[in-house]
Symmetry: C2
Subunit: 451 residues, 2 copies
């Protein structure tokens, strides 16, 4: 595939053409550009230039661009567009994308835009979709789907599909419902093509159909769809009425967003922020975890103060030079252990009892700790450090590594058992607690042997 190349030169050219209001050249230049690439272009322009480009084409082409824009840019552009203009755009979209855009508007603006929508069915669908939580099955689903009544013939079904199919971008499955609109099965387009035209749907449909409840958590839906390799899943209410459909492309976005969130949490960044968010938003996302680090760091001030007698001994004051090493080891080992467990919990590969898991981690950290300990003793020889000091430092470090690994392993498992997302365990939380604990343990063990 010849991928579209987004260059500074192209952006400059477009900006110049907009300035010159040279619409014919502008249209020629970007007419064949894919909407996802158009979004990339508009993300790099200012909001007025973006609106200019959007108004240049009809809403059939531009509505998809809106869905792909950066949230920050979209917000600015929606502010400039009129209620009617937004309504025109979202009428072209699938209901799930339309609802996502509406959800970003203020409550007042939402109502105004919906009142401008000419298609009453769509307006009703959007009001329904907006009533669900963003990350629930209802918040992810679209209302567009192709369904067949079990009593139809194949022939009737084919002609109905031609009608219904016009509004549905991709027909994955045809859902089969009974007279009360309850989901009872499914049918693939392939089955329909292969079956004799006079048969009834009743005779050929597959009664086994996976579905999710409209209130189900999005993460659960993603798990089900990726576990069972589903490309679309119907959504039902408590009475099994078919209310919508979730497709895999929405789940792909969802999986990516979840992975990004876990990644950022592990790095001590809270919530759903991006590099181009405002300084204020980024501060709000970062300060809480730094504050936690501050509290932990100030806590270790007290611990080190408690061991200051080592400073009076010219042989042992060197212990203080090792605090950053010990803190780093405790933090790194803890984060490693917890990240592996968090990942394992997400993939359901953490099996067996906590005890068995801890024994494995014990073995692992003894190996790592011993190797690193030996290297530390060699380092001590190299810098002419008293050998008993080196041995004590290595032994303490070994203990710190073992304890850090056990803490890092236990916390996510305990959190998961209590119904708390174990992902929050990885990152500053583990680092901070392991720092404090590690430093205390290090000096405590040193004190036992040396003082």
């Amino acid at each position: 595939m010849e991928q579209f190349q987004l260059t500074d030169k192209l952006i400059k050219k477009i900006a110049d053409l907009i300035l010159a209001k040279n619409n014919s050249k502008l249209k020629k230049l970007v007419n064949d550009v894919h909407f996802a690439d158009m979004a990339d272009i508009i993300n790099l322009l200012n909001e007025n230039q973006g609106v200019y480009l959007i108004k240049l084409f009809d809403s059939e082409k531009t509505s998809e661009i809106l869905t792909e824009l950066d949230e920050n840019i979209r917000e600015k552009i929606l502010e400039i567009l009129s209620d009617k203009e937004i309504a025109d755009q979202i009428e072209e979209l699938d209901s799930d994308d339309a609802a996502d855009i509406l959800a970003e508007l203020s409550d007042k603006r939402k109502e105004e835009v919906i009142s401008e929508i000419s298609d009453d069915n769509l307006a009703g669908d959007l009001i329904e979709l907006l009533s669900y939580k963003e990350d629930s099955a209802g918040g992810l689903m679209a209302k567009e789907l192709v369904k067949a009544n079990e009593n139809w013939t194949i022939l009737k079904c084919l002609s109905e599909i031609k009608k219904q199919g016009e509004n549905v971008t991709r027909v994955h499955s045809i859902y089969v419902v009974d007279d009360k609109e309850r989901l009872i099965g499914r049918l693939s387009l392939k089955d329909l093509i292969i079956a004799p035209a006079k048969n009834k749907i009743k005779d050929i449909y597959i009664p086994k159909v996976d579905s999710v409840n409209v209130l189900e958590d999005g993460e659960e839906v993603a798990k089900i769809m990726s576990k069972y390799d589903l490309e679309a899943i119907p959504v039902v209410d408590d009475q099994k009425h078919l209310v919508g459909r979730i497709t895999i492309d929405d789940i792909v976005d969802f999986i990516k967003e979840e992975a990004e969130e876990d990644y950022l949490i592990a790095a001590g960044v809270q919530g759903d922020v991006e590099a181009d968010d405002s300084i204020l938003e980024l501060t709000r996302a970062r300060l809480p975890w730094l504050f936690l680090g501050l509290v932990g760091g100030l806590g270790s001030v007290f611990i080190l103060e408690g061991f200051q007698e080592f400073m009076n001994d010219p042989n042992y004051k060197a212990l203080f030079f090792f605090t950053p090493l010990i803190a780093a080891m405790a933090g790194n080992v803890g984060v490693q252990s917890s990240a592996i467990i968090v990942q394992g919990l997400a993939n359901n590969v953490v099996k067996g009892s906590l005890l068995k898991r801890l024994i494995k981690e014990l073995g692992l950290s003894l190996i790592n700790g011993t190797i690193l300990g030996i290297l530390t003793v060699l380092f001590g020889v190299f810098i002419n450090q008293p050998i008993e000091l080196s041995l004590v430092i290595s032994l303490s470090m070994l203990c710190v590594i073992v304890v850090a690994a056990l803490i890092g392993t236990s916390i996510p498992i305990i959190l998961q058992k209590r119904g708390i997302d174990p992902a929050i365990a990885t990152g500053p939380f583990i680092t901070t607690s392991n720092d404090i604990f590690g430093i205390f343990l290090f000096f405590y063990i040193a004190k036992i042997f040396l003082l």
Copy 2:
């Protein structure tokens, strides 16, 4: 959806039935279990019990289970199965899944299994697929697809699809080729149903079709498919011959694996390991980053030694109590900054020059650093610390936070520009370098003001 519940009781019951060789009860118990759930069951049994279960059913049902098993368990089960038995299993699979399983065997075993495959076409396809790199488009694609010659009529095409479609689990698009088998367009099943039967494919196909080269990097394929919301993409060779097809479900797995790898790298765990891998594999994944931390920690021993004169001053020796705090701040801020940039680079939202980015980060870290600095001064008042010491500590910490943020921001951007995966910047690499640098800066500034 009533989700399958995997309980200890069920596993126990299955193990008992296997022991009693009670095949009829066993079949009744698990006959309707989805293959992905069967894989979960077998993951919890030992390999002989797993093989027993697999041999209980015919390969049509069990082959899909094999693809879903944990790699470690599958390896053990494949060792027990004969070449012919493995060949029977993979003949039931789509060619991409079959090739993935073959790829896990030794070269000798691979050949032996392939020689047992009765379908020569499939054997040829598998040999071809095995020749591509695992993470390339060729390594991800399947040979199964539905294609139509541009000169066929709709009627001929429909009957061909019925034939071809039997081997293809999901028909997304029908690819249109010319007489030389070169990809020239596509057709959706929907279009085919709607079009008049006497038209030729030539008249109705869509000439615009995205495709990827067979040698393209998998990450790039994932980006293209998720950016353009594609559910399947055809794969072509350099002469544009249609050679395969990649579907979105394979890409979902790929995206998840990539996200997991980045997550583990950020936590200082190298490569593709899981919680249930052997202790040796886990040690190998974790020790290198711990070694890096050790080198950094030993480096900071020298730095602290260089500033030991502070220890002789009863007022200033407290600076040493703050080293874990400074190291934690430098590490946390650096990881936050780099994680946000790494994420932004992956999503193409990091725009504009490095300089602009650094100015933003400067503002952000000044805000965070000032707030944390004020809190540190208040802490100093609270513990009756000399005020000039508190002020110097806060000022130094502020400098450390600013520098750490700038380092965390620059490194991923510089790595990306040099064609190195910026993800490796986040984690121990940043933590370690920022630890050393932060501690040095802290004491250096303190020295300027206090000594």
